[in-house]
């Protein structure tokens, strides 16, 4: 599957999902930079993980600062940012990743050999971003108007 999941189709899936359902103008950044350095360290991050299995297994991930979680949740639900609660943010991030994962497979898995599991969320506290380096996957770095996020895939077998 490695030859099928490319950074390019991952990027296309991220753009499709975030632009269609979350109304976020995005720009992909082509830079070689560590995940722990991509974010500001000043705020907590929401990191969601979505396992998949089939001919190969691994997981998709998305990492967003809490402020981005608030913004895309408000956009998605059509409510003011100050009306969003933590549960909505977690749910929205997980659903965004679910859609990204499904979209990636739609590019090549016509026979439905791959199965997506249920997304899980991990909260990464400010100044404790080192944990992100353990992910070790193919990451797409994304810039929003005033902020940034990252999403990617790791293939284990």
């Amino acid at each position: 599957m490695d030859k099928n999941i490319t950074v390019e189709n991952l990027r296309e899936a991220i753009f499709d999902v975030l632009e269609t359902m979350f109304f976020e103008p995005l720009q992909s950044v082509d830079r070689d930079i560590k995940l722990s350095e991509w974010f500001s360290q000043k705020e907590a991050l929401f990191a969601a993980k979505l396992d998949f299995n089939g001919p190969n297994s691994g997981f998709f991930y998305i990492i967003v600062p809490e402020s981005v979680a608030t913004e895309i949740t408000a956009n998605f639900l059509g409510i003011d940012e100050d009306k969003t609660d933590n549960e909505q943010k977690i749910d929205t991030i997980k659903e965004a990743l679910n859609m990204i994962g499904g979209r990636v497979f739609s590019f090549f898995d016509r026979e439905g050999e791959y199965k997506l599991n249920i997304p899980e969320l991990i909260r990464v506290e400010a100044h404790k971003y080192e944990i992100l380096e353990k992910i070790n996957g193919k990451t797409v770095l994304i810039e929003l108007t005033d902020n940034r996020l990252a999403a990617g895939v790791r293939i284990d077998t």
């Binding site: 859609m99 497979f105 439905g112």
Partner: protein, 142 residues
């Protein structure tokens, strides 16, 4: 005549956005009912009158395909039109959905008109008194 809609998705945000899309489309909805998974949906279906079901596939406990199969075992529930709203879009899922008599398959991410068009076709025909059960699925929906 107003119709009751059951939205089945383990994401509360997705349930909310589907509800909002249907509301904004101007359908005459009596009640919006929601369920977190297939098991929860079966409970709702056993106690409430539902005119159309929109369900995700990938959910814990009982997934959307299992839910539809369960509905097909019941002579009343099997007549309720089902729309699948899912991230899954493989040929396998499309074929399975067609075999189960699903009326439309909408892929996430969707545009509001995807849901509006599917419901327009399904409920519009129902409200005009036309038959749509057993009708062949249109290519645009699958």
């Amino acid at each position: 005549m107003a119709f009751n809609v059951l939205i089945v998705d383990d994401s509360s945000s997705m349930r909310a956005i589907i509800k909002k899309t249907i509301k904004a489309s101007g359908f005459n909805v009596g009640h919006f009912l929601t369920a977190e998974d297939g098991t929860d949906a079966v409970k709702v279906l056993s106690t409430k009158w539902v005119d159309v079901v929109l369900t995700d596939i990938n959910m814990p406990n009982m997934n959307g395909i299992e839910l539809i199969k369960r509905m097909k075992e019941d002579e009343i529930l099997e007549t309720i039109p089902v729309v699948i709203v899912t991230t899954e879009g493989s040929e396998k899922v499309k074929k399975q959905s067609m075999e189960l008599g699903v009326k439309a398959l909408i892929k996430k991410p969707f545009k509001p008109e995807d849901i509006r068009n599917a419901l327009n076709r399904i409920m519009g025909e129902d409200q005009d008194g036309q038959k749509y059960y057993g009708r062949e699925l249109e290519g645009s929906d699958f």
